[in-house]
Symmetry: C3
Subunit: 347 residues, 3 copies
Amino acid sequence: MRLDALARTLGCTLEGDGSAEVTGVAPIETAGPEDLTFLHHPKYLQHLATTRAAAVIMPPGTQSPPCAILRHENPYLAFATALRLLFPEKPRWTGVHPQAAVAATARLAPGVAVGAFAVIEEGAEVGEETQIGPQVYVGRGSRIGRSCLLYPQVVIREGVMVGDRVVIHSGTVVGSDGFGYARDAQGGSHKVPQVGRVMIEDDVELGANVTVDRATLGATRIGRGTKVDNLVQIAHNVVIGEGSIIVAQVGIAGSTEVGRHVTIAGQAGLVGHLKIGDRTVIGSQAGVGEDLPAGAIVLGSPAVPHMTAKRIFTAWTKLPDLLRRIRKLEQRLGVSTDRPDEEEPRR
Amino acid sequence: MRLDALARTLGCTLEGDGSAEVTGVAPIETAGPEDLTFLHHPKYLQHLATTRAAAVIMPPGTQSPPCAILRHENPYLAFATALRLLFPEKPRWTGVHPQAAVAATARLAPGVAVGAFAVIEEGAEVGEETQIGPQVYVGRGSRIGRSCLLYPQVVIREGVMVGDRVVIHSGTVVGSDGFGYARDAQGGSHKVPQVGRVMIEDDVELGANVTVDRATLGATRIGRGTKVDNLVQIAHNVVIGEGSIIVAQVGIAGSTEVGRHVTIAGQAGLVGHLKIGDRTVIGSQAGVGEDLPAGAIVLGSPAVPHMTAKRIFTAWTKLPDLLRRIRKLEQRLGVSTDRPDEEEPRR
Amino acid sequence: MRLDALARTLGCTLEGDGSAEVTGVAPIETAGPEDLTFLHHPKYLQHLATTRAAAVIMPPGTQSPPCAILRHENPYLAFATALRLLFPEKPRWTGVHPQAAVAATARLAPGVAVGAFAVIEEGAEVGEETQIGPQVYVGRGSRIGRSCLLYPQVVIREGVMVGDRVVIHSGTVVGSDGFGYARDAQGGSHKVPQVGRVMIEDDVELGANVTVDRATLGATRIGRGTKVDNLVQIAHNVVIGEGSIIVAQVGIAGSTEVGRHVTIAGQAGLVGHLKIGDRTVIGSQAGVGEDLPAGAIVLGSPAVPHMTAKRIFTAWTKLPDLLRRIRKLEQRLGVSTDRPDEEEPRR
């Protein structure tokens, strides 16, 4: 692809020879003379002067590498578009594999692919151009929209609704039972039947080995355009708004409602029955135990506002020094030090 | 179902018209005039005055909604029973699917179901009325009890013993090798063969994408009636007592023994070789590095008794203020502040 | 096996009757008179005096149990070798199962096993003596080396390179898309195509339900001999050096480079774009947000050097007492206490 055509399509300002061609894409430090690359994270600025790439997508007003430049306010976005142009998606599977088990009452729209050893149970529906990969399971009465992509070994349990253009990665389970038990007076656990459903709205992407439990009653719901990374746990009756980002290994406990355009970083945990406002940002490994207003930015376990958290973390690393300084003050004043705290609980 | 009959079956006191009928169950805020609902968590009290439900299961001595009431000391337990009455479990799979691969020496008791593309290896045994879902794997010589339910894509490796009425959700792996390597003087890792087994006792339920490793020697064991949520890691030679509750994303390291009726909340971690007493409660995201006596309630990482933890968390959020107050005291006394801590380690 | 022969093979010094035979291996507390056992963790010293084992592998210079002793400087390593002698690995699957779906252009070397309902896509290659278990998926153009073992329900996506003698446990997904989205000005998320690959080098072992994402560009790479436990998340473009140990539920975010012989304990998290030096040790539940030099030992979230961390944790448990002591000092000096902190941020 010629650079001038590429610049036009991406909405970039071109600096350099527009007639040059790029045939591939590579990281800035390994790119060769026919590769396009991009500069996104400041850690890679060091490689700019020595890159052998044909062209770099980068923001306006920054240094000039020894190659053509495609300037864009949002280089990562332009780069994503360039990748789609250079690596157009082709269907991975086509047709219904003779070794798939599709129930008589399942309805497959035109253009649906079903891979080898996939199972589509009675009454399930799959929309146009959707690809059901090999070894996938789609339960009774579930409905998958159009142009979806379910990678090998996804499990969709019964009664799950999946919108259009949804992508679900391997090993992910949608619609497993919520974790609900009623305790009797003797401490025995009695399962609460989980008779609700799951709704995955349009343009959602779920990573690999994610778990999304079905609701006890009603529906667990993931809003339009929300992206979920690997190994995330979404419990029964959780509702996640549109356009949110849930990073790997996050856990969201039952009935918590997460707003729109929320970001939850890796390994954070949210207890149940919370309301998390729109545009909230929750830091990695944070532990959220209370409702959060819209726009809150929190860190820590227990989670606190991020400006407070940064000061707490700074003080936390100085704790041994604080202890020493208190001892010194106590010596100066002649008060007894380190005496057992009479308020200390016994257990 | 008539309300008077329902109340009798559930052991509830009925307030209202016993001849009314309920046909469904719904959350309190969306229930319609033929629905039963329940009040369990105080956050939903606000919906009580405006609910359109036919009847609410709720505790004695609380407010009266504008509908019939089924009073019960344990509304969640009564609700669980009501759900089982209104949504009786039917078998999901019946018979042995012609596209299952069942080894010649595997023994299937009467009434066993084996789904499409399931694999039952040589010498495995499956008890009466157990349902082996589609795409499940049961390894050589493993024994599954009666009336179990293995959802699609469960893996049971060889030599695993599963009791009766056990439920295992999709994506869960039982009997994978424990993580054991012996290091040589050069830092090389030599695998320690994991030749032990796993025993899952009666009435256990394992969530989705759980991992339970086989023992190095002996057995990893999960006690009768214990319930395990999604994405939990149970390492080799772990022993969990009866009636415990292990919430999502918990990790329990090798050889740790967890007692009976223990509760471990989400994302908590336990190091190896511990003894955790009966009825212990471990908070979410806690990090347990020491044995815990029976009845302990701990929070935090490192975990401390919960009353202490609450006071620590309160003080923790005040750390920047503590630092300011110490500085002020130092100024008042004329002692030098913030000087480098000579005890600070160099690395 | 006779004890004198065993001692010779393991390089142990024998104390006791070399003509005695061992037929099995068992934990020290349950071993019977024909069993070999070993002493590795000091917690099990208590069982030494009463063990019924035929022989114990243990270090020199320690107590003498009432049975034969095989002394070795590294008892765990000697024990690993003994287990391999007594329980030699046999192939689990042989031949290509008639119900496997192997593409016409896939190349299987001599001695390859492919289990029932496994899928090998076009252009994939599998090396000599490798066992592809039942229900495994190997994507288009992927290359698996020789003498590998892929347990049931592993997913290897397209374009993944796996070295020789690699073991991958059930439910693990290699090559799922990295979690990369470019945000537009309206907050919409646009998928960045993940067109890179994954390279798993020789002698790596991956536990169950692990996720290893493919690179955006270039390769996600796991170095020779590295061992990864269950439920670990390895994001796109992560590079892990040789001989490292990654314990269960660890998460490593995108583009982070982990050195050689690094140990990362359970549930620790590393943010993206870091460089972690060789021989680093990262404690369980640690949160690493900065580069670490070679040989660092860190604990805590945020992670700090372990000697500092231990002092911080000690001070942390005393926080309520520190607060009391500061109050007492303030009273003594007559300064106001607990007044609102005017520096407190507003949000």
